[in-house]
Symmetry: D3
Subunit: 324 residues, 6 copies
Amino acid sequence: MDYEALMPKQLHEPVDAALVPRFAGHATFMRLPALTSAEGLDVALIGIPWDGGTTNRPGARHGPREVRNQSSLMRKVHHVTGVAPYERLAVADLGDLVVQPIDLMAALEQIEAGIAGVCAAGALPLSVGGDHLTTLPILRAIHKAQPEPGPLGLVQFDAHSDTNDSYFGDNPYTHGTPFRRAIEEGVLDPRRVVQIGIRGSVYSADEHQWAKDQGIRIIYIEECDRRGPGDVMAEVRDLMGDAPTYVTFDIDSIDPSMAPGTGTPEIGGLTTREAQAMVRGLAGLNIVGADVVEVSPPFDQGGITALTGATMLFELLCVLASNR
Amino acid sequence: MDYEALMPKQLHEPVDAALVPRFAGHATFMRLPALTSAEGLDVALIGIPWDGGTTNRPGARHGPREVRNQSSLMRKVHHVTGVAPYERLAVADLGDLVVQPIDLMAALEQIEAGIAGVCAAGALPLSVGGDHLTTLPILRAIHKAQPEPGPLGLVQFDAHSDTNDSYFGDNPYTHGTPFRRAIEEGVLDPRRVVQIGIRGSVYSADEHQWAKDQGIRIIYIEECDRRGPGDVMAEVRDLMGDAPTYVTFDIDSIDPSMAPGTGTPEIGGLTTREAQAMVRGLAGLNIVGADVVEVSPPFDQGGITALTGATMLFELLCVLASNR
Amino acid sequence: MDYEALMPKQLHEPVDAALVPRFAGHATFMRLPALTSAEGLDVALIGIPWDGGTTNRPGARHGPREVRNQSSLMRKVHHVTGVAPYERLAVADLGDLVVQPIDLMAALEQIEAGIAGVCAAGALPLSVGGDHLTTLPILRAIHKAQPEPGPLGLVQFDAHSDTNDSYFGDNPYTHGTPFRRAIEEGVLDPRRVVQIGIRGSVYSADEHQWAKDQGIRIIYIEECDRRGPGDVMAEVRDLMGDAPTYVTFDIDSIDPSMAPGTGTPEIGGLTTREAQAMVRGLAGLNIVGADVVEVSPPFDQGGITALTGATMLFELLCVLASNR
Amino acid sequence: MDYEALMPKQLHEPVDAALVPRFAGHATFMRLPALTSAEGLDVALIGIPWDGGTTNRPGARHGPREVRNQSSLMRKVHHVTGVAPYERLAVADLGDLVVQPIDLMAALEQIEAGIAGVCAAGALPLSVGGDHLTTLPILRAIHKAQPEPGPLGLVQFDAHSDTNDSYFGDNPYTHGTPFRRAIEEGVLDPRRVVQIGIRGSVYSADEHQWAKDQGIRIIYIEECDRRGPGDVMAEVRDLMGDAPTYVTFDIDSIDPSMAPGTGTPEIGGLTTREAQAMVRGLAGLNIVGADVVEVSPPFDQGGITALTGATMLFELLCVLASNR
Amino acid sequence: MDYEALMPKQLHEPVDAALVPRFAGHATFMRLPALTSAEGLDVALIGIPWDGGTTNRPGARHGPREVRNQSSLMRKVHHVTGVAPYERLAVADLGDLVVQPIDLMAALEQIEAGIAGVCAAGALPLSVGGDHLTTLPILRAIHKAQPEPGPLGLVQFDAHSDTNDSYFGDNPYTHGTPFRRAIEEGVLDPRRVVQIGIRGSVYSADEHQWAKDQGIRIIYIEECDRRGPGDVMAEVRDLMGDAPTYVTFDIDSIDPSMAPGTGTPEIGGLTTREAQAMVRGLAGLNIVGADVVEVSPPFDQGGITALTGATMLFELLCVLASNR
Amino acid sequence: MDYEALMPKQLHEPVDAALVPRFAGHATFMRLPALTSAEGLDVALIGIPWDGGTTNRPGARHGPREVRNQSSLMRKVHHVTGVAPYERLAVADLGDLVVQPIDLMAALEQIEAGIAGVCAAGALPLSVGGDHLTTLPILRAIHKAQPEPGPLGLVQFDAHSDTNDSYFGDNPYTHGTPFRRAIEEGVLDPRRVVQIGIRGSVYSADEHQWAKDQGIRIIYIEECDRRGPGDVMAEVRDLMGDAPTYVTFDIDSIDPSMAPGTGTPEIGGLTTREAQAMVRGLAGLNIVGADVVEVSPPFDQGGITALTGATMLFELLCVLASNR
């Protein structure tokens, strides 16, 4: 069949939209080949369809499929940096981790094991959630896989700090608590954690105090607005230095007019132009993994949130490629 | 039942979202208790589900219910100012005024009587419309309830001046005319009326001339854009001084990408970040009442307009609290 | 305030839509008063906003709020049977059970405890889910509260048998397994379980065999179509007799054109006219509780599923009232 | 320009969809020419964009425009009866009556005057509402224009009887009261009023008693279901005989899965197949006017309600043509 | 990675939804493996994402991807017939044919070549369109591939006859003309063509005359309604006999309440229950290929049309399997 | 009928929204009279409902009708410039060009012929697409109609350069190639082509090289962001000078949060405020025609894209009027 002939000649290249229309074919991340092993890959694109840590509106379990769908609009080369990620990196779509939606503790183990497998194959995981609790087992796996011991740094784009202690009584694992757990476990170095775009009313006056006491740098949206992306990212690069750094992009960092499909929207967020400029400012960092989380298609409008998520995924991929 | 045990111990406190999920329970404004009397309250949150003055797309009658629904996302403390309104003010949800949708003149009387009752109980009305004509009877009631005679000042966030003379022949009462009526009646002092975010094509070249002749200060969106929220609000505070001032927030002041659910959208509006900064700039004024109007759920997209309205309601509440 | 004057004079009566418009006021089930205790009630309307047992599309946690919203369209008297439920029964809206979304086993306990409280107060629970796993702890509570020992009968309107053994490995508690658990626990008498409207492809050829082996009567949609509601319900009444019977109405029994907002839609379902006729056919049974489950607003279209759910809730209430 | 050349050669013929695509051109009813005078027409298609009588969800004011839009899908000949209406009747789109949305009593006069003009020109009005109160002034105008004195007959497809006395205190004119007013005024003969598809809960046990006491024949949906369209319409034709008869088609007679865009939906309604069969059964009656009302686009889903309304309008037009 | 371990052990089996949640993994038809060659397959599931023949609302090019997405809800065994298609047939998802959207004549060649390849590999094509013009090149390819010469029979579920001569002047190839072309070319035997569910207004009184003159059997929706699925299908089986027969299922045969996402909706259509019964009635025919066409996701509501399409695809697959 | 009396007294004036509600009447561009000849007009508003050049998501064929619908919100005078276009220019709605959707080459001829007719009548075409390939035949017609020979200048607001060579093999005419063709044909002077708002990933590193080699000035979104609308437009005016200039406004230049209804959305786009400022900056140029393209209603959300398109159309009309 013709389709075969038009498949990318090299393994890790997207289907060419000038030959095969974008609406055609199976929806894989970036129209890349679907593989089942990370062996030989530099970057593994993976979905984590799980939202068991969600405290309010669910649906992030449907995120990977819809981000795949919208990622058909991505092309091969970054229009500003000129980076051509597929020429520099071996990338593929590894499918979704198998995570069951019923048992939270078992799910965290499934996610950690899946990411550990990617790391063991030598690939860097670039995942699409899922809710923000998925980042905790990812961090655990990457932390364990580092050649040098020591906690990781974190650049977190988010509307919320996600450093609460517990929810609904004494549940320690929700999408509002992952970074507190990661710090307590020694997986993250709080002095190398920066949170960008934080906003919205809070439960109590001291809700962010624990985070600040640990040394976390919270850059509220008002500070982002005042300083601009360039200045903010210069500080971020200073904070992160050359040490291993994970990047997590919660789609709710973006304004809900541009990313309505998420569980806990907060108005007054980052514009996509600001977010793109900031992610581009990550170039040069020692990134050991990254994710885009909290895309919730049931609350999306016309796929715009998934499109925003897919574009931020492409921006992150180009940052990873620019470092090679 | 457990629910009872988890109800706020003090009367005027929201249900705690860290105990009871936000999607649970009856939808009241800010998850506050539902009361039927304003006695003992500092601020009464009230819905006015009426859109009989609407000249184009209807639906603002459904505004209060949907703003209540989305206000479940609000928490207790303002993340920038640190204001904790429920610690400073006795606030509750008084339900909706009973206003029938058929007879316009009777409806205006019902609204005025309802607000007069709130004022008589010593509470300040913070209402959710309804179309912008609802503000006229509110202003009448508050004006009558003032201890000192004299017209009120007005800070109006809006895409439209709403100072036309009449519509469809000689109808003097529509949502395009309330502030002309209020000035004619001596309820407002036009030299202390400021309109922010005005834009969109006009019926005639002199449509705003009457307003300007009275002394109304119109700050078009282009001037907002050029000067920024801080500079604009400094002028507003100068204009209002210490005298009694009412604040009306027409959701169509916000850009329709962020607030599509409204009857007369105009592109090129305020961003929510600008609007939040401006409302925060009202702190210190002598505010005698406030409203959020023109949220029209049938034209909304995914509840974003109601979410924006609920957040602006919270911002206004925090301004009121900051003055105590 | 006027609103107070218009509140129902008797405790358990809906707000009168000929006085207060339907879009006005807090959204409670049937516009009934919101109470926090079941004491003195004959029937307690309760929401159970929980979907932790959902294996596919989530969102049933948002069901109670949206069913409340649409139930504003219900009036006081049944147009066919003439039953006026509020004249015969003391009914109110007890709010939502407090159930946290993170820990499944804890949630099952919370639901059982909440329903047990209702039963202890002498009221019959008529609840709105929530996914179908919520019915398991409800059944447990009602079973324990029966004056006479012995398992309950069940009339189940559903597209699925929900008698699978486990999911995703060995998870025994999901919304696909509740009735197997209830039978195993002795809560249900399988020879008095009838399932109506079953359809859709199955996992294996013997998926329904366990159910049939226990004596469950499965009436597939094809049989419903052939025999008609009257004949089917005559058989159901014969099967149930005078013994205690629970009624569970899974909204996915209805065709997805009439109830799209659900987690596991199957085309070719019951029409609402058929479903209404069937529920009316329950009159005379010894009903000890009932529910409407699996309304998932994020997947709904224009509120039609919630409207269907609210109407079936009213139909069930009228059946309960007709027995007094 | 080509467009001109492709306009229908005869005055009252739709644009040909085999020449000009259906999505092209101005949206007029049935793609007919837009005229401003009814002189020379047999049937005048008119919009009445007014919903001032609506007691619950508004939006029927937007009905005519959207029905025009969807009516582009109609073709020229009826597939069952073979009637080609434009060969038998001079028909055109007269535009919308000018009715202002603010003053209810003035609006009723505007509608009556507009329809009176159509009648004076010798054309039969076939209108698209608008809420059901619009039918009252239409009936008044047609009644006055009859060559013979005496009340009219009425065939009413509806979920509701619309014969209540008043709403919200003492408002006599709402979309729930038109036919009571028309009977009181002698415009309708209640013994020649038949209401088809009535259903849904009622305010009180005797809500329909006044109607029945006057001699109105109410055919509930359950009776429609049992007897089928053919039998029902035989009775209707008997009741109407040869005397002047008006036909009003409330879109909420149709099931909300097929017509969700309406103000007061009731599940369990007529299917479109049943409704089409019934309207076809009107052939031979002495019809003096007809309407389709209560299409409310803000609550529609994908235009299906407007499509249903447009198709019923075509069915009614073919009935009118079949009588010539 | 775990995912690999959970992939179906045999080649042509869906991923097990009791192990891997339905929302997880790449969206393939029925969750089957994605292959690029039809060798060894009995049935090849193929997408044809092309709508270049569409005369009204486009979007069927997006059909295959969305039908894949919704087909995740299908399970392995038919609940009525007990047929387990994957035990009887080797089936896989061959992806989409590469068809460019710009040049109509080239596209027809691409489709024919693609299907010819499937036939040459010995597999039976079961495709998802795409608009109805895609069926013409499919029929050409299958016709050429038959071991015995002679025209094919056709069972066509459709609202429209699709036997017009030309559109927009003299365009012979549109989705309203394929079966006229196929008969003219000798690909179809008109005396073995049956069209089921035909309805809706027509361009001219003799629009269907050509079809009838050729011997095509048109079963209008009114006849379907009167006779019921069983009787209709008995006639269809008689007409088709043992000779090679193609089955084409235009989704617009279904009522638009159940399948709104299509280009030319007509109210009053088949219910899904009727359609399912009819397709099941095809068992025993000598089917040489089949398709589901005209699913247009941009006009769909909540994916219900794609779900209906996916289910009809499963029904067709089970019919094919039942013949083995 | 009253409607007639309220029609604009002068030919080329919109219906007055203070007399006739905006939701009433046939939807024409700006509520202007619908004419069928351009004779005597200064500016002809025309729809071009065609999307045959679309490589990804279709639907722009539905653009003109929906832009007409939303343009009811436009009034008569520009609020910033004070320009009253209908006092300065004779403008009307000429309807849609008749363009068939099946044969691409024939469609291009139909569009060119239609625009040539407008030019021959002495009117300036201001059109609404349709996809961006429609601009090629428009440019051809205008180019031929110029009194002086020589290529035209172009100001292009767009996310994409649209100067690719071919698609899907060797198709030279798609909506990604029009300006390359126009330059090759000598219709455009590449040194007077400026493209504003370009962004998004590209097919290859040298995708824009051909354009740059010809002398096209590409102003990427990042440069727009840095310099601001005023500075950018000063450069544009310098580039264009006094020579004949065409303006094409692709709605995808706007951010997809403000214009989601388009075929190839790219996040991070122009805000409407920026776009309005830029279009206002065109005043004084020698504009020979203009268009708004790529509004695709099937992908729109609540009509916001069509509203944005209608407003940009009004902005362009005011620029044309300001030059008189």
